[in-house]
Symmetry: D2
Subunit: 337 residues, 4 copies
Amino acid sequence: MLIVMQPNAGEEKIQKVIDFIKQKGFDAHISKGADHTVIGAVGRKVIDKRDIELLDGVKEVIRISSPYKLVSRVFKPTDTIIDVKGVKFGGDHIGMIAGPCTVETYEQMDETAKKLKSYGVKVLRGGAFKPRTSPYAFQGLGEEGLKILREVADKYDMVVTSEVMEVAQIPMFLKYVDILQVGARNMQNFNLLKSLGEVRKPILLKRGLSATIEEWLMSAEYIMAGGNREVILCERGIRTFEHITRNTLDISAIPVVQKISHLPVVVDPSHATGLRDKVAPMSKASIAAGANGLIIEVHNSPETAVCDGAQSLYPEQFKELYDELKALAVVLKKEFN
Amino acid sequence: MLIVMQPNAGEEKIQKVIDFIKQKGFDAHISKGADHTVIGAVGRKVIDKRDIELLDGVKEVIRISSPYKLVSRVFKPTDTIIDVKGVKFGGDHIGMIAGPCTVETYEQMDETAKKLKSYGVKVLRGGAFKPRTSPYAFQGLGEEGLKILREVADKYDMVVTSEVMEVAQIPMFLKYVDILQVGARNMQNFNLLKSLGEVRKPILLKRGLSATIEEWLMSAEYIMAGGNREVILCERGIRTFEHITRNTLDISAIPVVQKISHLPVVVDPSHATGLRDKVAPMSKASIAAGANGLIIEVHNSPETAVCDGAQSLYPEQFKELYDELKALAVVLKKEFN
Amino acid sequence: MLIVMQPNAGEEKIQKVIDFIKQKGFDAHISKGADHTVIGAVGRKVIDKRDIELLDGVKEVIRISSPYKLVSRVFKPTDTIIDVKGVKFGGDHIGMIAGPCTVETYEQMDETAKKLKSYGVKVLRGGAFKPRTSPYAFQGLGEEGLKILREVADKYDMVVTSEVMEVAQIPMFLKYVDILQVGARNMQNFNLLKSLGEVRKPILLKRGLSATIEEWLMSAEYIMAGGNREVILCERGIRTFEHITRNTLDISAIPVVQKISHLPVVVDPSHATGLRDKVAPMSKASIAAGANGLIIEVHNSPETAVCDGAQSLYPEQFKELYDELKALAVVLKKEFN
Amino acid sequence: MLIVMQPNAGEEKIQKVIDFIKQKGFDAHISKGADHTVIGAVGRKVIDKRDIELLDGVKEVIRISSPYKLVSRVFKPTDTIIDVKGVKFGGDHIGMIAGPCTVETYEQMDETAKKLKSYGVKVLRGGAFKPRTSPYAFQGLGEEGLKILREVADKYDMVVTSEVMEVAQIPMFLKYVDILQVGARNMQNFNLLKSLGEVRKPILLKRGLSATIEEWLMSAEYIMAGGNREVILCERGIRTFEHITRNTLDISAIPVVQKISHLPVVVDPSHATGLRDKVAPMSKASIAAGANGLIIEVHNSPETAVCDGAQSLYPEQFKELYDELKALAVVLKKEFN
């Protein structure tokens, strides 16, 4: 930690700061600049930097250690490649996840999965428990939905992912699902994150609507600190002043995270934009920026979908997009799998 | 719902929209303006407005029914006054909640509560389970903390509030706590909200860091829809581009919410600003703007506090502020209780 | 304009609203829904919708006419292609603009331009008047800078663009520059926009740091309303809560604007991210999302640049990126020119 | 400047950084911490910190000198009190500015000013040149408006303020106006700021819609660096994700700015909220938080106002508010003048 003193802070104030940090278990290194004296607090103790900021004569206090460890490239310099029954996310491998917002019926899932599989998709998505802003909206089929998802996936030899909303649901999810998804609204549900740290299946961790990249990585750290090293990060748009799209997809988060962390980053263009005709350009942009995967909503009949039909692609639209994405990947020396 | 057609949308496109909404169970009222035809979709069915927005020739679709019912002044025009063992929040009554961020020891709570009570404070706060961004930070005393809180409160005849983080913790909280607090990060933890709807104690619901006022009210609606009519809303700062304070306290939310809803609104200036010297001006501003209460962090020894000491007031500072607030309340024809 | 009445607004309140809008020169169309009466105010008069919102019993007022006309696809359905001495922006044509942040010396511009031209770039950028946050920072060479820019561009048969900061500078810019740039901070300098409406050279209009897409289009409308139909829109990042990058590049603005407007949209990845290593991924993402051009900072010697060296590419880096972008364009069926 | 090296940066990388900053004219002080080596770059040269951030092995670079000088309390510890013909802003003096958004007619100004003066208001506002988002909206009376403003102010012995939009308008404004206002959209119109530095009348500088407090102070620094020491800062709401109010009034900016700077801070609650019924609570909150003044829109007949009638108070409403504000000021030991 670096403590920058006010230009006019005299010896007495400087000494008081030194005494304070020593008492807290730190060593002090003093260096005098043109305007400011800077005190380095050396040590591994934990302290709230604001406690020092409130001392007399202190201009600001700067934390220099990163708060995350396990997620960082300092800890693990090489890309983490997460292999879900043969489907790889990370490094030069791009994973494609597709399927409807919500599991509605066996027929709906069967039809959708059949087409997706025929296009080459290996990971199927579908919600069984839905976080809805209104208590009066459809909340999902529950365990019945997970059963359908699993049954259909097995029929077409696919891998499945679905969103878990609560600690108590985890054992149920482990029975049916290959990748457990944490939704944006639960990104800082720390009890849930801790429990997922004890799971031995990959976690797809969505970025919260207003989470900084650092907070997002800290949530991944929660999971990894529990012993689960398989976290796939998922950018899905942030909340900004611009309301013409539902959220603002933060595509620059892809290269930023990939520089700091070894974990794979996938993108959800469907939730970010909320409108079908924006999914294709945002998918292409994500892959061009280096994303390690995509999660795209596709429904066999979007106009009758129970939820989020407006942002779901028709299967044929999806196929066309997928073909174009594969062509882009070749130019970018990456590969869909 | 109102469907605004593009200026150049011909009869055929208009008819297709009419057919679509009729098939969804709505009646259609057509009115032609100078540039635009507007179709009113009349009925009480639920439909995703984006499904209509994607139809050919549609410019935009406007939802006109409010998504909330029970929280609205349309449902209940008069102010809800929540009475917690004689302490009132709402209407002209201003409630004061004070105490440390975290319960650390019996002595800390005893000393703090003793002073607060002597100043006239009747509601004691203190965290037992702490939502921390880092998995490596202190996470609270757990049930032991709740016990201390209760014991001290009983000694000084005070009422207590503490943050509940998970569905499974609710029965434990009901044993010790008078007001259950939902933290900003859990404002859209819908499973938790639903379970709190079945509780028969007041809930203090903090606004999420990036929650719109409408979303915040919808979360209150979740609780009320379950049968619990005692929700105290708590503004605690929103995330904006400005980083000089931790968050931006949205004081205008007070009159805005009070116009839409009958529920009381209190303010947490400690978490909003994150710095002790900003707590007094923001407390005064909140009361001046019409807040129905405050929740302020006070610690008997802030410099040795385990967490958030930097934003905690010294007891004497708090007393001085409280006296000034009471004087302001007189001018504003409100009353602390 | 649509006026939505409160559910409980009686006949008397409705009549008062009708009288009010009639007096303002509108016709009234009434339609009754399940909960709400909606009054359509028909006519072309201009009225502040808040004047109606304040009337008794009014829930909300919805403006349905777009505020922009000339920039809209309703006005001109086909893509505008802007041809600057043979370089095309718009439709399937992608324009590439490159050069240093600031014109420093003849040698610097000559070296940079020579290399850029050899790679195929036809439009040279370089600032002569610099908008700097600090009054103590380098403010540009002024007219001398424009002279150097012109001289070097003529030597290599290139087209030039530079930022104009004030009405009084316009005649000087017309002598030297082919495309006049309006910076983000001046996007709502309405006097400047009006004066540029009288110019007969293309304008590159950057989006303001916190401008909505609608406001950005309204600023283009200012220029077009003056008679200048050649506006190139430039997305350059918006201000959000996320500070890890300088700004958040809003790539979804590309397809959004292209749907509403016929004007070309280019992207400035250098200013958006502020760091050299993020320029390549964001350039690729922009082209993949459908951008009609890029404006990239390139400096012959970034480490000695007077300003923004950190976000400037080395010429060789730029060449490598440009080659990759051309390969992506082929897949996307677009063409650099 | 402090340069924090990566934990794994070896001696060679550290030496390269030292060589780089020495070559740029700085001295280097090295201190080794538990994880990180920190290099202090000592000296007064100007350097873009990103140039160092891009060097190998550098984790981050921290600027420790404040970019502002003249606006800072380090430069001038005591409150600046600006006296405009006897009306004082700053210290314990609260100034009240009131009047319509726009000067429409002599009669309108005369009626409004007469009432305001009778309530005790000494500073009259009124726009003559209006920055409007749409080129098709009313743009103000121009110089004719300034003449009316002056004439009416002289009749009632009042002081006047109005917004200047362009460098070329300054001489005209100096003839009629006592305080020159810079609008939010022009807060970073640096040419205008520089020219206002040469003026010898007070400047009321509004905060830009998305300007950080630091940028706002830097704009004040532009004016002060030109020799004009009389700057009144004006908070008027920032742009956030919340759209239920037009802007989010950042009341915490008042104590934050007052701690950093000696300049007075006034608040414009009318533009911040955009709705009449929010003006009173936000005015009271601003004064309670320590504002040195208010600028409030009042119109003799809001329902016929040419612009912003919806946010203008009726004269009688204003009187009631003003009386309540004076009573609050007494409790706060401040004084309206």
